[in-house]
Symmetry: C2
């Protein structure tokens, strides 16, 4: 039942003179995500953004940028090199490539080091690790060649979820409507258009768009089995500090994770007041072109008593 | 400069009627450790124990049991299957095989799952994981076929060491005498016979024996480089609670790790009073034949601010 929920992320921004990415036909995006061993399950769109729900996570396409998240054993770097080859390299203002440390790194098709050596064939860039190797850590590769319009991203990554919603997600009977209702986003995320999918036997994905805003929520709920690999990721380009704080508190309340990470891209550090958790480590990085990445890892304050897992 | 300090461990105990392991000639042990890609650098012995210092950690041989620790990319399971084949399987009362989660699991020759599927060709047994996958965790395989004489082990595993001794160990000029002096074991570990080795460019190993007692200390000091993979392991079959507490405090004071694990085999849980650290998780396991393994992970209470590592 092991499933690697941790996402790999590719973000590409084009120079302002480049043709719109949204002019590209859907078969282009189907081939793109197929390179990562993913497929398009459904999509929604508005005047600014096309959001594709994938068999392994999500693809968002705006006129001048794209964001592809893939989880499991997906081969995101292959999609990255494919899209670089199929766009004009000179049109690329910025490429960011990101990997979280996986629960089971040895099951992945490649390491981050392998991936960036492929990317560097196309685009020079700098790579970093934020976080100690023995705890949560995240890898970033930045190939930034021109200033891009201001963008931001807030990521909340939750590990080992517990409680009613976690229990519900581990049953065989969950439905999209059932999960959405239990997420209780009303009042927090008004006017968003949502697209969601329940996977068999477990797993739930949600894309949401509103104008240029996006959000993405992916749940790997497996917590009742030997692998105990439950993981939930939430990310958005919403940047209101009060809204982000409300979302953080809401999601922590819903999922009651034993630990979680916050990653902030071009955002001031959120003032976090979650007294039941303590911050184990933090790290911040500013790239040559001024992109700021902040990472913090939080863990519940009380000692967690774990049941030995029979393998 | 990356080096995987995490040890794999093999412990074998023979039935009382079996011939003494110490009768086996040194070439036997040289071939044994060579199966794990290690070699014997030096050895010490007394009336109860032969202690071999290896290119990757340590081998201890008593009349009725052996303990082989190997680090780096060593292939301990190959040594395990070799020794099972070269001893009489029916003489084996108990085999324990143990792996810590590595800093870089994807660099290892095999996974724990691979290893136990090999071991199960020879000996049935149960395998467990103690600890969450996203934090420190340890794998154990127990093939226990007969009660063995009471044995105990205390392990202290320290991550990300800091301070004067860490700085000294990261210089090119450390010597065995220099490290031993700085370890300040006088008064704590009297009458032990020591054997130690400094590795080039970094690394230090120490074996100690006194009667049937043993201890082993292995230092991977690399903390000044991008990999920041410093790691120190200490283990012993000493079982005095007051002495173990004194050793714990002494070693934490010397190495000032950002986090550490305690593993206790057939020992009551040490009452730990280290207020600058908090316990993130604990887990305890009792095997069918009554072997008790306890695991606890401690992390410094204050948020650690980490410098992004350029890769």
């Amino acid at each position: 039942m092991f499933f690697e929920g941790a996402e790999k992320k590719l973000e590409l921004q084009l120079k302002s003179a480049a043709a719109s990415l949204r002019q590209l036909p859907q078969p282009f995006w189907a081939e793109f995500v197929a390179c990562a061993n993913a497929e398009i399950l459904s999509h929604i769109h508005n005047d600014f953004c096309d959001a594709y729900l994938l068999s392994e996570s999500s693809l968002f396409v705006w006129d001048d940028r794209l964001l592809l998240l893939t989880c499991g054993k997906s081969t995101l770097v292959t999609a990255a090199t494919w899209v670089i080859e199929n766009l004009a390299v000179d049109d690329i203002a910025s490429l960011r490539y990101q990997r979280k440390n996986e629960y089971q790194a040895q099951l992945q098709a490649s390491t981050f080091a392998d991936d960036i050596s492929q990317l560097r064939h196309y685009l020079p860039g700098l790579a970093y690790r934020l976080g100690h190797l023995d705890l949560h850590h995240h890898y970033f590769f930045f190939a930034e060649h021109a200033k891009v319009s201001s963008d931001s991203r807030f990521e909340l990554l939750m590990y080992h979820i517990r409680g009613e919603l976690a229990d519900y997600l581990n049953t065989a009977v969950q439905t999209e409507e059932g999960v959405l209702k239990r997420l209780q986003f009303d009042g927090l995320l008004n006017d968003f258009q949502f697209d969601s999918h329940c996977f068999s036997p477990f797993g739930f994905s949600l894309n949401g768009i509103r104008g240029e805003d996006y959000l993405s929520l992916h749940i790997t709920p497996q917590g009742k089995h030997q692998d105990n690999c439950s993981y939930v990721s939430f990310e958005t380009n919403l940047n209101s500090q009060s809204l982000l704080n409300a979302l953080l508190g809401h999601l922590l309340g819903l999922f009651s994770p034993s630990g979680w990470d916050v990653i902030e891209l071009n955002l001031p550090s959120l003032t976090i007041n979650q007294p039941q958790y303590s911050c184990l480590s933090q790290s911040k990085l500013t790239t040559v072109l001024g992109t700021i990445i902040g990472f913090r890892q939080f863990q519940q304050c009380d000692t967690e008593t774990l049941i030995p897992q029979l393998l």
